[in-house]
């Protein structure tokens, strides 16, 4: 059975000045599959997702999302996917409902459908009872649930999840994955995820790519990867492929800002 390829990446390169963040990677994802993109910090995962989701322009190479190029057919690509970013991207001062509504209007969904879907989705992630509360009062887990619900309002064909379960308790993690796998089965929605939890990747994904220093070092099912590396677990395989050295990431502007916000305290 040959499924339609919903994500196609050919010889993708992304340079920031002299630094090569993504070095000539190629892969594709079939429609309706769950694809895990794994790698140590700074391996190029987020950069790749940003290119796939039109936030960054590729330096070289070809990308097709749902048959469209993110560079030329930006709007059609944007209608095709939903995304949950690594960092929260909700407006803290709006309520849960307003955040959902904002998104729906941005995706051009009319009022009737909008109301119905928002209610449906907020119920699914068990936030309907708190829909009128400002998001700043939510816990990390609640915010994540809300973001996933939000990413699904426009019925995307692909859902991108960039480390969606980071910092969440096991209950919330299980809840989220169960829900995502359900959506994937029911709606044939393709899922593209990154995570540092190898067991999660192993459990839910159909195909795994391991990326390091901007290059894909292994791609296949979890069993294939384990067999090829003679490992008993995906984590072992991952460590064999990417080494044991801990990757240092530089503090970004964001970290400075977090500090700044704490010092400033008030202004938001």
């Amino acid at each position: 059975m040959d499924n339609k390829k919903i994500i196609e990446v050919k010889n993708l390169v992304k340079k920031f000045g002299d630094f090569i963040a993504v070095n000539n990677i190629s892969f594709d994802v079939e429609e309706g599959k769950i694809f895990a993109f794994l790698g140590p910090n700074g391996a190029g995962k987020t950069t790749t997702i940003k290119i796939l989701t039109t936030l960054l322009q590729p330096t070289l190479g070809e990308v097709k999302i749902n048959g469209f190029s993110p560079v030329e057919d930006t709007d059609r690509v944007r209608h095709s996917f939903g995304i949950v970013f690594q960092d929260p991207s909700l407006d803290d001062e709006l309520t849960a409902y307003e955040n959902m509504e904002f998104h729906a209007i941005f995706y051009g969904i009319n009022k009737e459908i909008r109301k119905k879907r928002i209610e449906e989705l907020l119920n699914l992630v068990e936030l309907w009872a708190r829909k009128d509360e400002q998001v700043k009062h939510f816990s990390g887990g609640m915010k994540r649930r809300l973001e996933i619900a939000r990413g699904l309002i426009h019925h995307p064909k692909i859902l991108f999840l960039d480390e969606p379960t980071i910092g969440l308790d096991p209950q919330t993690r299980n809840f989220l994955w169960k829900y995502i796998v359900e959506m994937n089965k029911k709606e044939k929605m393709t899922v593209f995820l990154t995570t540092h939890y190898m067991d999660e990747a192993e459990r839910i994904s159909n195909k795994i790519a391991i990326i390091d220093h901007g290059e894909i070092v292994k791609i296949g099912t979890s069993n294939e990867i384990k067999k090829q590396t003679n490992s008993s677990s995906l984590e072992e395989a991952f460590l064999k492929l990417t080494g044991h050295v801990i990757r240092e990431e530089h503090a970004t502007a964001k970290d400075h800002m977090r500090m700044g916000r704490r010092v400033w305290g008030g202004r938001r």
């Binding site: 944007r78 407006d91 051009g108 008030g266």
Partner: protein
């Protein structure tokens, strides 16, 4: 009411309305200026033959509060950028121009409201506009400077990664714009070099326009004020839109 532009505008208003502490905090400064300077310099101004200083000062302080609110609203885009909400809007199938425009108009509306509140406070303190029918026209001037400086804040913030540059903006842009605009003192009797600076400063035309409407005194001419403000606003708005469209996350 389903357009991204509208919802973006509404968001700015909701955010303003929901942080009451911020509203109160940002009114403290104009009130202090009105009271301290108004009553402090009043007698000297009068002795020098300038008439009532409060009459002269109030339009300037209204313009000041709009300048500050508008610039901060524009600069706040850095927060949106770092704390993710901007990303959510940038991956949506909506043109960046309508995001920028909605946000700017929202910020400008907030700044206009702030200006009107300061106007009302100045009435309570003793400011008496001469021509009541011109009050509405003065709101047009207030809105124009609000748009201009929200767009300017957005333009600057589009090129900044974090708030490190904030002090620079405050001391090298906002403060000079304010002090050299004729908000606090008449510009006619300034030395030539400073006079040129005030002529380049778009806020001067805003202050003069508001003053012309509310007190009938103008040094530059109300039509001149209007057209210069309009043109500069459109130019800055286009530059801001361009810079905003180039943001990479």
């Amino acid at each position: 009411m389903n357009s991204p532009l509208y919802i973006m505008w509404l968001r700015q208003l909701k955010r303003y309305w929901r942080s009451k502490a911020r509203i109160v905090g940002s009114l403290a400064q104009p009130i202090l200026f009105l009271v301290a300077l108004g009553f402090g310099f009043g007698p000297i101004f009068q002795k020098a033959g300038g008439g009532s200083y409060l009459e002269f000062l109030a339009p300037g302080i209204i313009a000041m509060s709009i300048l500050f609110t508008a610039m901060f609203n524009g600069i706040e885009i850095i927060w949106d950028r770092q704390f993710g909400f901007l990303k959510e809007t940038l991956v949506a199938p909506v043109s960046r121009y309508s995001i920028m425009l909605g946000r700017t108009l929202g910020g400008a509306t907030v700044a206009l409201i702030q200006g009107i509140i300061v106007f009302i406070i100045s009435l309570l303190i003793g400011f008496r506009p001469v021509n009541l029918s011109m009050i509405l026209i003065s709101f047009i001037f207030m809105f124009l400077i609000a748009v201009l400086f929200t767009a300017l804040g957005t333009a600057i913030a589009s090129r900044l990664e974090d708030m490190q540059g904030f002090q620079l903006i405050m001391n090298f842009i906002i403060m000079p714009l304010f002090f050299l605009s004729g908000a606090l003192f008449p510009i006619e009797s300034l030395p030539e070099a400073l006079k040129i600076v005030t002529k380049i400063n778009p806020l001067s035309y805003g202050v003069d326009g508001i003053r012309a409407c509310l007190t009938g005194i103008s040094s530059l001419g109300i039509f001149m004020d209007f057209f210069i403000l309009l043109i500069v606003s459109l130019i800055i708005l286009s530059i801001g839109s361009y810079l905003f469209s180039k943001i990479e996350i």
